[in-house]
């Protein structure tokens, strides 16, 4: 953690250089706020602004989605990319939303930030970059996808995590002490917290969640996978989703959104981080990835490269169909 200031300097100088030589129009990174434990997103257009970029445990916002605002641009944009951002970038490339040559990626291996979602993160080092600002040595091991499987966790740990995150988590503040030990947190911690419940309990769990939902669509707005030009929820004439606001309709929205990102989710957890009501909606998408892994028997991690095949966009003649 002592590395933060050293690394921050590297970010600043790299950003300055890119701005100075005109490689990029601006660099996306983080800036401090009035509160020590908060940062905000900064679009550094000048070298001076680049010196305001920060790098600390409170850089919780993921930056990838901001690229989408410039998807039609004819200039290049610089971005500080940790594991999650780099996977977002790959995802956007797979979905043909951005042009690789118009993004300059400053790879920033991440120690895990002060956010709940970071605790379950297995891919902290960037997977794509133009320039790696520092190497990933000395960080918690990354890329250990097999190790991430919950089967390797002690049963007691799963139970603890599950118990701690069940119903009471709804509406609770998301901020938790820095917890960089990924081995303590299952990759699918949110989903597993719900899976153990009975059908009725699950139903009321989600009822409680969606009763609180205000349909602000912040989850969609923040999601790097929600890259549609127009979202179905904004087009009520299409008939999929009306404007009515009820737990039932909110629920349809929640499940639909999960399904829309099902096989493309990069597990960044932004949806949950930005939820103003603090709803634990990450479980929905985690569940889908878990299901995909169960169906294929293989690890399914999105965003690892830009050429990958989507689960729902392909098939195997021998796919499971035990309920069909």
């Amino acid at each position: 953690m002592n590395n933060f200031s050293q690394q921050q300097q590297k970010i600043r100088s790299a950003a300055s250089r890119l701005l100075a030589d005109g490689t990029v129009r601006f660099v996306i990174g983080w800036a401090p706020t009035r509160f020590a434990e908060r940062t905000t997103v900064l679009f550094a257009h000048t070298e001076a602004e680049a010196q305001a970029l920060v790098w600390n445990a409170h850089c919780t916002a993921a930056l990838g989605k901001y690229l989408l605002d410039h998807r039609l641009a004819d200039y290049a944009v610089g971005i500080v990319a940790r594991g999650c951002e780099s996977r977002m970038i790959n995802r956007l490339l797979t979905d043909h939303q951005i042009w690789r040559e118009r993004v300059y990626i400053l790879g920033a291996p991440c120690p895990g930030m002060d956010a709940e979602r970071c605790a379950g993160c297995r891919e902290r080092a960037p997977v794509v970059w133009d320039e790696l600002l520092w190497d990933a040595d000395g960080m918690p091991e990354t890329g250990g996808r097999q190790d991430a499987a919950p089967t390797n966790l002690d049963e007691a740990t799963i139970a603890d995590v599950g118990a701690g995150l069940a119903l009471p988590a709804v509406g609770a503040a998301c901020s938790r002490p820095l917890d960089t030990d990924t081995s303590l947190r299952s990759r699918f911690f949110r989903a597993e917290a719900v899976e153990g419940l009975s059908a009725a309990e699950k139903f009321s769990y989600w009822d409680e969640v969606y009763a609180k939902c205000i349909r602000c669509y912040a989850c969609r707005q923040a999601c790097p996978v929600c890259s549609c030009r127009a979202c179905y929820v904004d087009m009520d004439r299409q008939g999929f989703q009306g404007k009515q606001h009820s737990a039932a309709d909110n629920r349809v929205f929640g499940v639909t959104r999960a399904f829309h990102v099902a096989d493309r989710c990069v597990e960044c957890g932004e949806c949950e981080r930005v939820c103003p009501m603090g709803l634990p909606i990450l479980g929905q998408t985690q569940k889908l990835i878990k299901e995909i892994e169960a169906l294929t028997g293989e690890a399914y991690v999105q965003g690892m490269d830009a050429e990958e095949e989507n689960f729902l966009g392909a098939f195997d003649l021998d796919d499971k169909d035990d309920f069909l």
Binding site: F259, A294, F315, F323, L324
Partner: protein
């Protein structure tokens, strides 16, 4: 999806089951069941679609939200799809969807899928009867 507040228009609280049937296999199979005068419960309402691959999981969500007691999706057997590969995508979509519905507290016994060919009238009848029995057994939550 609002199971608690379901309004059922059927008299006597008979459950209604929505069935998506592909035009080339299952719809034909259902027609054949009629041609053979096979009897099955009247709770099922068939929506004809060109291919089971046309069935959007959001349709299923909508049906449950509106109060469906059960939803079924039927198509050609894998490899027999009139459009070559449509049902392979169906398979993946609904294997996922089932997990997600179950995760959301929807009883998976309310959602079924089955491969029924144009000649399998009896299978259609048996399947519909079976789903009706299951759904009736579940009652209204």
């Amino acid at each position: 999806m609002d199971v608690a507040n379901r309004t059922n228009t059927a008299a006597g609280g008979e459950p209604k089951i929505l069935a998506f049937c592909c035009n080339w296999c299952t719809y034909t199979g259902a027609d054949l069941a009629g041609l053979n005068r096979m009897k099955y419960p009247a709770n099922v309402r068939v929506v004809r679609v060109p291919c089971s691959g046309r069935v959007n999981p959001q349709f299923i969500l909508r049906a449950f939200a509106r109060g469906a007691d059960g939803v079924v999706v039927c198509g050609c057997h894998p490899g027999d799809c009139h459009y070559a590969t449509g049902n392979f995508f169906t398979r993946r979509r609904f294997m996922l969807m089932r997990g997600l519905l179950e995760f959301n507290g929807i009883d998976p016994r309310r959602f079924h899928a089955r491969w029924i060919s144009g000649s399998e009238a009896a299978k259609f009848r048996d399947f519909v009867s079976e789903v009706c029995a299951i759904v009736k057994g579940l009652g209204h939550e």
